[in-house]
């Protein structure tokens, strides 16, 4: 999932010594089609191309639970695993999903032409429709705050920045298509 394209992804693939095919999803096609809002993800397909497992966010080969499930799927011990119910606070209509994609693509086009600030504006418009989408949010961060990603990723900063941005968005009423949850009054 790499808006900055092949050259941003390549060093990571080389470092991992990957021997499997690697594709570059510059416009979040998979995110739009599968409707996930975060990576890292694992999706397992059987020989007929049927989806048998999905984990959106937090999938890791360093998590023994994830590895164990994949092992059982490969070995045929289990046929599939039904995913946990989504914790999303809203569901986007197909029209809104198309609109998000249009704004992401426009932002990518602007970035490739060197119009960084305008690109960020378009991505922010996409994020306003889908504020829980961490892929869009991190895409903005990577371009806006590159020092937080190179030479290493500042995970602590990401946690704080997410909190700050969500507070500010909620204040402005940006919570998704159904609006913000009504805050509790003191004493309730």
């Amino acid at each position: 999932m790499e808006t900055q394209g092949t050259e941003a992804a390549r060093p990571w693939v080389d470092k991992a010594g990957a021997e499997y095919p690697v594709t570059v999803d510059r416009h979040n096609l998979l995110g739009r089609v599968l409707d996930f809002k975060a990576v890292p993800n694992g999706v397992f397909l059987d020989e007929r191309g049927v989806i048998r497992y999905t984990k959106y966010g937090g999938f890791s080969v360093e998590r023994s639970g994830d590895v164990e499930t994949i092992r059982k799927l490969i070995g045929g011990e289990i046929e599939q695993q039904i995913p946990s119910p989504s914790e999303a606070q809203y569901i986007l209509s197909p029209v809104d999903r198309e609109l998000v994609e249009t704004r992401l693509r426009l932002g990518n086009e602007l970035l490739s032409r060197g119009s960084k600030e305008e690109a960020i504006l378009e991505w922010q418009r996409a994020l306003e429709l889908d504020p829980e989408n961490l892929i869009i949010r991190k895409q903005i961060w990577a371009v806006r705050y590159p020092e937080r990603f190179h030479p290493t990723i500042d995970w602590d900063w990401q946690g704080e920045q997410l909190r700050r941005e969500r507070e500010e968005e909620i204040e402005r009423g940006v919570c998704g298509p159904d609006g913000c949850p009504i805050p509790r009054e003191h004493g309730e």
Binding site: M1, E2, Q4, T6, A8, A9, R10, W12, V13, P21, V22, T23, V24, D25, L29, L30, R32, V33, L34, D35, F36, V39, P40, N41, G42, V43, F44, L45, D46, E47, R48, G49, V50, I51, R52, Y53, T54, F59, V61, I70, L73, I74, Q80, Q81, I82, P83, P94, R97, E98, I135, K138, Q139, W141, A142, F149, I153
Partner: protein
């Protein structure tokens, strides 16, 4: 490539017939992967 945006594929559904470019520039069509079990791992550099 035909993708119906009204249906979100999940466990039990066929993986949609998409293609994406590989690092070497060639296209990978997901339907090419049939015939073997496949683990897709999706990540971002951020």
């Amino acid at each position: 490539m035909n993708v119906d945006i009204n249906i979100i594929p999940t466990v039990g559904d066929s993986f949609p017939d998409l293609s994406l470019p590989k690092l070497d520039g060639e296209e990978l069509s997901f339907s090419e992967l049939r015939g073997r079990k496949v683990l897709l791992f999706m990540w971002g550099s951020w």
